[in-house]
């Protein structure tokens, strides 16, 4: 500083006993090792959102696997037209449908179809979208462009419109079952997973640890499988979990439009759809399966939300 000053600057030194000098960069030895997944698990365990959704999902899966445990009433037999739209009576806590079937029993037995569609459509989208997205992101170049355009093409066909086209084809119309719905949802669901995976892989691909692995002699495909993919999983898992819920809703919507599951398959979508005629006289036949569906979907979306918070890449860097 050019100016001259007269006042004296005090030279202060803190007392040593109050400011002890620590070794530079010492390692704390008494800490338990904690992997990223273990750390995420530790965060998750404390989240009420995660606890509630997990309990619900476990319950729902159990219902789907063993419906007989929850109700003794067979869902399709003993439907008496005398009971049509009947109110709840002991043993039939949710009343009866228009056909006089037990609503509760139908909900229990309908779980399987909805859950199967959700799980397998998610798996399908994960396998196709995940593979294509990872390849596109990691190898880049023309492969990336082709896959990106292909994804755009499917994106340009909104899910329900695409499903309408597919499901009215003779092949699908004649073989309508759970699997045709799964295929339809997969075909129009993969581009989203591909985009997410591609983005995640792209952000990891140029990380120094991948370059380091390459210069250690790890081949490109091995680097992709061992380093890039495990580090790109988090956002994909989150989106896939949320999508599972969305697919269940989509199945119900398709069934409502009459192009989803065939009417003889017991599913929440079909039950809601067939209950619409008696909405004004007996709204509970519609509301109960709708509630079952919504709670299921909500569980998956909440689980996805909780996972997102726990696996947030921004929170991972300390």
């Amino acid at each position: 500083m050019p100016e001259k000053r007269t006042e004296k600057i005090e030279h202060y030194v803190a007392p040593l006993d109050e400011t002890p000098l620590h070794a530079t960069d010492n390692v704390a030895e008494d800490v338990q090792p904690l992997s990223l997944w273990a750390e995420a698990w530790r965060n998750l365990r404390k989240q009420p959102l995660f606890i509630i959704s997990t309990i619900l999902i476990v319950l729902i899966v159990f219902v789907a696997l063993f419906p007989g445990v929850f109700t003794q009433t067979p869902p399709n037999q003993n439907c008496l037209l005398a009971n049509s739209d009947g109110d709840p009576v002991p043993g039939h806590p949710m009343g009866f449908t228009l056909q006089g079937c037990d609503v509760f029993s139908r909900i229990i037995y309908g779980t399987q179809a909805s859950l199967t569609v959700g799980i397998f459509a998610t798996l399908g989208a994960l396998i196709i979208g995940g593979t294509l997205g990872a390849i596109a992101g990691f190898y880049g170049g023309w492969l990336d462009s082709v896959i990106a355009r292909l994804g755009d093409v499917f994106f340009a066909l909104p899910l329900i419109l695409g499903a309408i086209i597919i499901m009215q084809l003779p092949f699908f119309r004649e073989n309508r079952n759970v699997w045709t719905v799964v295929i339809t949802l997969t075909v129009f669901g993969w581009p989203q997973i591909a985009r997410i995976t591609r983005g995640a892989v792209l952000s990891v691909r140029n990380a120094d640890f991948v370059t380091a692995a390459r210069s250690l002699g790890v081949s490109r495909p091995a680097a992709l499988v061992r380093h890039v993919i495990p580090n790109s999983l988090a956002p994909v898992i989150v989106v896939a979990t949320v999508n599972l819920g969305i697919f269940i809703v989509a199945e119900a919507t398709l069934s409502f439009l009459g192009i989803g599951l065939p009417p003889d398959v017991m599913s929440w979508g079909n039950d809601i759809s067939s209950a619409q005629v008696s909405l004004r006289s007996n709204p509970s036949t519609l509301l109960w399966p709708a509630a079952a569906l919504s709670v299921t979907v909500l569980s998956f979306i909440m689980l996805g939300d909780a996972l997102r918070d726990a696996l947030d890449p921004k929170a991972r860097k300390r």
Binding site: D152, A156, L161, L293
Partner: protein, 308 residues
């Protein structure tokens, strides 16, 4: 900017060809007789079948068929429906209704989604934030047709605040209830996206700098947090048009709105293949064009990409 729009336009072309090809391929190349496919469950009427063969040039090789179909599509020559009316004529008549419905739904989800999202984001962790978050999850989890039935029953029948079924000429006021139902799920998404985006931007360095400059809190929020947070929301709104179209099929069906969705719904119920293919093709075109518009808006919001 101009270059950016040109480039987006050029990128749109393969997507357009791809999407229309996909539709065409699905209908005419999968196993089974396409004529039978178009007829659905009903018996094949020979006269109509002959007309369809001509319409879709089924005697030509596949690629020629596809290009003739494209030509028909862009010249709006969409063939006749089963009752003999030209589909193009029908569409011209019913399109305005659906556009009105979509605009109302878009306004509803954008305005309310953004307002709720901003307030929740600015009050992260408070009661309002928590309530809105849970409510939005519930809305997302309920299928749109259940929402439709319930709203129709409660608001339309029980409370009598709106016409439970629209029908007729479907004016703006009549469409408010169906539009809310149509936009409800997207409203929840917009809300959540806005909230996340606001929270992220609140911690941006430039926001701290803006505060250090001596700007009032209000100005920092409006000028520096809000504007930047709108960028992902606009992208979402563009992509969401597709979901709105799908939703319109359901909503128009429930509320008996005489629009494109309802027409498509009826065609599906009746198995009117040719009409389905025509309408879906047109909708895909509309969707792609709308996305181009969104890209322009996006470039205006985010100056960086104009030069990308």
């Amino acid at each position: 900017m101009t270059w950016y729009i040109i480039r987006r336009f050029l990128q749109m072309i393969p997507v357009f060809f791809g999407a229309t090809f996909l539709v065409y391929f699905l209908v005419f190349s999968l196993p089974g007789d396409p004529i039978q496919a178009l007829f659905g469950d009903r018996p094949v009427n020979e006269a109509v079948a002959a007309q369809l063969r001509e319409q879709y040039n089924l005697d030509e090789p596949f690629l020629v068929q596809y290009f003739l179909y494209l030509k028909n599509l862009v010249t709006f020559n969409l063939g006749n429906d089963f009752s003999g009316r030209p589909v193009a004529e029908v569409l011209v008549q019913i399109f305005p209704v659906t556009i009105r419905l979509a605009i109302l739904a878009l306004i509803f989800e954008a305005v309310f989604g953004i307002i709720f999202g901003v307030v929740a984001g600015l009050r992260k962790g408070k009661l309002f934030d928590g309530t809105v978050l849970v409510a939005s999850l519930i809305v997302i989890a309920i299928p749109i047709f259940v929402l439709g039935f319930v709203m129709q029953f409660v608001v339309g029948v029980k409370l009598g605040w709106a016409k439970p079924t629209v029908g007729g000429d479907a004016g703006w006021l009549d469409l408010i209830l169906p539009a809310i139902v149509l936009g409800l799920v997207s409203f929840a998404y917009v809300l959540r996206l806005t909230r996340t985006s606001i929270i992220e931007n609140m911690h941006a360095d430039y926001v701290r700098t803006a505060t250090a400059k001596g700007l009032s809190r209000q100005r920092v929020v409006v000028v520096h947090i809000l504007r930047n947070s709108m960028i992902p929301v606009v992208t979402f709104l563009g992509a969401d048009l597709g979901a709105l179209m799908g939703g319109a099929i359901v909503t128009e069906g429930i509320f008996n709105v005489p629009g494109v969705g309802q027409r498509l719904y009826q065609s599906v119920l009746r198995g009117e293949g040719p009409t389905i293919v025509s309408i879906v093709s047109v909708l895909v075109m509309v969707y792609i064009l709308a996305n181009l518009l969104v890209d322009v808006l996006y470039a205006w919001l985010d100056p960086r990409i104009r030069y990308a």
